[in-house]
């Protein structure tokens, strides 16, 4: 029965997430609300990650598989997006390079700032 209880907890969180998503004034994906709920439960020790281990492993391991039907949905709309397809591929690649560069620069900046703070604290001590 262990796995049934795990599924119960996870599905319950999903259901709560959808409810909260409906009453939120701004659109917010219910899965992300569920993520925040579970994170808070873990943080405040309402639940331990090993209590959900088997179900979590199943969902994480088969994550990629779960996208097949959504991906197959492309065949339904392909005629409509035929002309946008190549630009889309190009945009995905170029923006990934830009995102990488921006993130790396920001992290390096933040690390330098932390080191500068630490050095100043040492000096004043």
């Amino acid at each position: 029965m262990k796995i049934l209880w795990q599924i119960g907890v996870i599905v319950g969180i999903c259901f709560a997430g959808e409810g909260i998503s409906l009453i939120m004034p701004i659109p917010f994906p219910s899965g992300v609300i569920g993520m925040i709920i579970l994170f808070l439960m873990l943080l405040f020790k309402r639940i331990q990650s090993r209590d959900l281990k088997e179900s979590t492993d199943f969902l994480t391991d088969s994550m990629k598989f779960l996208f097949i039907p959504a991906g197959v949905g492309v065949m339904q709309i392909f005629d409509d997006i035929r002309n946008s397809f190549l630009p889309m591929v190009f945009i995905c690649i170029v923006t990934t390079v830009i995102t990488f560069a921006a993130t790396a620069a920001a992290v390096n900046g933040a690390i330098k700032f932390q080191q500068w703070l630490a050095a100043r604290r040492r000096k004043s001590a």
Partner: protein
């Protein structure tokens, strides 16, 4: 025949069989270009076309699989929680990096979509492409995007990150392991992270933390897209 094929077990069986072939092909060819998900999607599309089976029949089972994406998103928080210690030590660089990366990603996608004259529906569908798929699909659908376009753009981004992360590190001369990890996770989610894990323990951990954080931050930024 059509009654048989509209059984939900058809779509589920076909998806699992196609994925099994995808995994087999990848293990034989051993290249990140042979992405099992991409292969499975193409196999299913080919199968449905060859036997003239409608997407609706396939999706009787397909929608049951798609439904599982929400619980799969929820349990992503477990991996962030499990790495809380390493996050506490590096919280400032991680959060600053994910924030900068998310903003850069969304603005650059939006600008390029405008340059190429893509319509609003396409643009919204591509906007969350650097975020892990379940969150990306959630965001896209909330704003009227097309889920399957979002899935496709996320996969393309993931494959690019898996293949070219080491080249990107060299191109931008990123010496710090934390910076490399956060940058890989922020720009190419799980795809890049599988490569980051090969590069080193710090890179792998920072990359996987960044997936969840970028997902959260991007969801918040997406709330402002109506102002674009």
């Amino acid at each position: 025949m059509s009654e048989w094929l509209s059984s939900p077990f058809f779509g589920i069986s076909l998806s699992i069989a196609a994925y099994a072939i995808g995994v087999l092909i990848q293990s034989k060819l051993n290249t990140p270009f042979a992405n099992p998900l991409l292969i499975a999607i193409m196999l299913v599309i080919a199968f449905l076309n060859i036997f003239s089976i409608s997407y609706e029949d396939f999706n009787m089972g397909g929608q049951i699989i798609t439904m599982l994406l929400i619980p799969a998103t929820v349990v992503l928080s477990i991996s962030v929680y499990n790495q809380l210690d390493i996050l506490k030590k590096n919280w400032l660089p991680v959060i600053v990096g994910c924030l900068a990366g998310s903003i850069a990603s969304i603005i650059s996608v939006w600008l390029l979509c405008r340059v190429f004259g893509l319509d609003d529906k396409m643009t919204i569908s591509i906007l969350p492409k650097s975020v892990t798929t379940p969150i990306a699909v959630g965001s896209s659908e909330q704003y009227g995007g097309i889920a399957s376009v979002t899935v496709t753009s996320v996969i393309i981004t993931g494959i690019f990150g898996t293949v070219f992360s080491p080249q990107l590190i060299r191109l931008f001369n990123v010496k710090n392991a934390v910076a490399a990890g956060v940058a890989i996770g922020t720009c190419s989610h799980v795809g890049g992270t599988t490569r980051a894990i090969e590069l080193g323990e710090t890179q792998g951990a920072m990359s996987s933390i960044s997936i969840g954080i970028t997902g959260l931050i991007s969801t918040f930024i997406m709330m402002f897209i109506k102002f674009l």
